[in-house]
Point group: C2
Chain length 277, copies 2
């Protein structure tokens, strides 16, 4: 059966590219917000949903993190890491040297600032609501215009790509998570995402908790503190580690950390993303 | 003498509001990028500079973090936490019920999505390059238009505020850091920001390092891992703790962590921001 997959839209964005990379055969449905994707999955309107969780330049997508922390129905079923490769595109047949206006989301314009200063110092930069609407804004423009957008958007709207990989920083990656009502069975190459909070405060509580991983040889791949919404001084910790929650060492650590002093919630165990896998 | 203060511009943004909150008497100079602010400070064009480092909804500003990690000249001299209070503004004397177009940065439009759906379901949302240019876009519009922007922008451009605090989430705060060529002398209520990296890999290295803080009773207020640019699996850790780097317990921990197994760089010690202080 074909899987239905909600994604944070509109069509033609990097999130749609990630959804296609994750499952080229899925039936894709765009939703206007990250919350609406979560809603679609938790109410079984779609089987799964794809949302961004972290960009190597812009940082964590806290909407997604907060959403995972504040509910108990949704799990992380998988992850996808997508290199962000901005393309410059125009109406077919246009001469690049004519461009007077360049449309994109302000974040993408900022990520191509050096390229634009070097190549189109006199073109006016105009903001669009998304990387995808930049292309429709460009096509509707009365002036000779370009758009900075993902390759996917050029395919959808019939724009012509005149330059690729124009982002200033080559290490521009976004990590997406696939949400579902269940997480993934063990594969032997897994990661687990968790949320850890403490019932008491003090210098040593985080240290003691990390000891439960260290003494079992469990490698932490990411740790991030986030303020709780109850009080400014209080933090929760979002932790990614190697291994599956059903692997014996991790299973033990999880049991110990659900004790009188701390609460550990598993957000999901899932296969580690490997490029080209 | 009046302090000169670079800030990530343009004028009329939240960063300018933060700069004014930090030092109402300073001479303010806008710069177009976070890197240009850093450059202004490191080349002594200005005394200090204000840049965003963290938003409670959008996460860390990795441009600022990476910039601090990759250089050794600039220190964090101070911090400012600003509640983000979006205002809806129009040309003076306009009737709010007439609005057909609303301009703002896409991030601000997204942060006011529920307000806009409830109050102006039929107004067209148009992207601007910054919260501040939203106001000039609105003033230049031929249609009855509004802009979502900081109060500061209404003062600069003579726009009329017709609604305040329109962001959907009341916990919308941005933390800014003040960059200088030196950090702050001890005040007794200090924080220290550090960057920690390891020369070896393995499950226990972070745990052992945090032990150096825990056994000296030093409270960690924030910990975040960031990929290094050499290799995808390698991380550096950005850590904020209570205390000044000249306080004896922290001084000891810093010395121990600059050993054969790890490198600890102090990004700066500075007074903890207290609202209304």
């Amino acid at each position: 059966m074909v899987r239905t997959l909600a994604f944070f839209g509109p069509v033609g964005t990097y999130t749609e590219e990630a959804a296609i990379l994750y499952d080229p055969h899925a039936e894709l449905k765009p939703f206007p917000t990250i919350g609406a994707v979560a809603q679609a999955v938790s109410s079984a309107v779609t089987d799964q949903g794809v949302v961004p969780i972290e960009n190597s330049l812009e940082g964590s997508v806290n909407h997604t993190q907060d959403l995972l922390v504040r509910q108990s129905e949704l799990c992380i079923y998988n992850e996808v890491a997508l290199p962000i490769r901005h393309c410059l595109m125009t109406k077919p047949g246009m001469d690049a040297s004519d461009l007077q206006v360049i449309y994109s989301h302000p974040q993408s314009l900022a990520q191509c600032r050096e390229f634009l200063e070097r190549t189109f110092p006199n073109a006016q930069q105009v903001a669009s609501l998304s990387n995808s609407t930049a292309v429709t804004d460009m096509l509707a423009s009365e002036l000779p215009a370009g758009a900075i957008a993902p390759q996917r958007a050029s395919e959808l709207y019939g724009a012509e790509i005149i330059d690729r990989n124009i982002q200033d920083n080559p290490n521009n990656m976004t990590r997406f998570v696939v949400l579902a009502l269940y997480d993934h069975p063990p594969t032997g190459k897994d990661k687990t995402s968790m949320c850890l909070s403490f019932n008491q405060d003090g210098p040593g509580v985080l240290y003691d908790a990390l000891g439960e991983f260290a003494k079992r040889g469990i490698n932490l791949v990411k740790i991030e503190s986030r303020p709780t919404r109850q009080s400014l001084g209080q933090y929760i910790f979002l932790i990614d580690c190697d291994g599956h929650r059903e692997d014996q060492p991790l299973k033990e650590a999880i049991e110990v950390l659900n004790g009188p002093n701390s609460v550990l919630t598993v957000l999901g165990s899932y296969p580690r993303w490997e490029a080209g896998a």
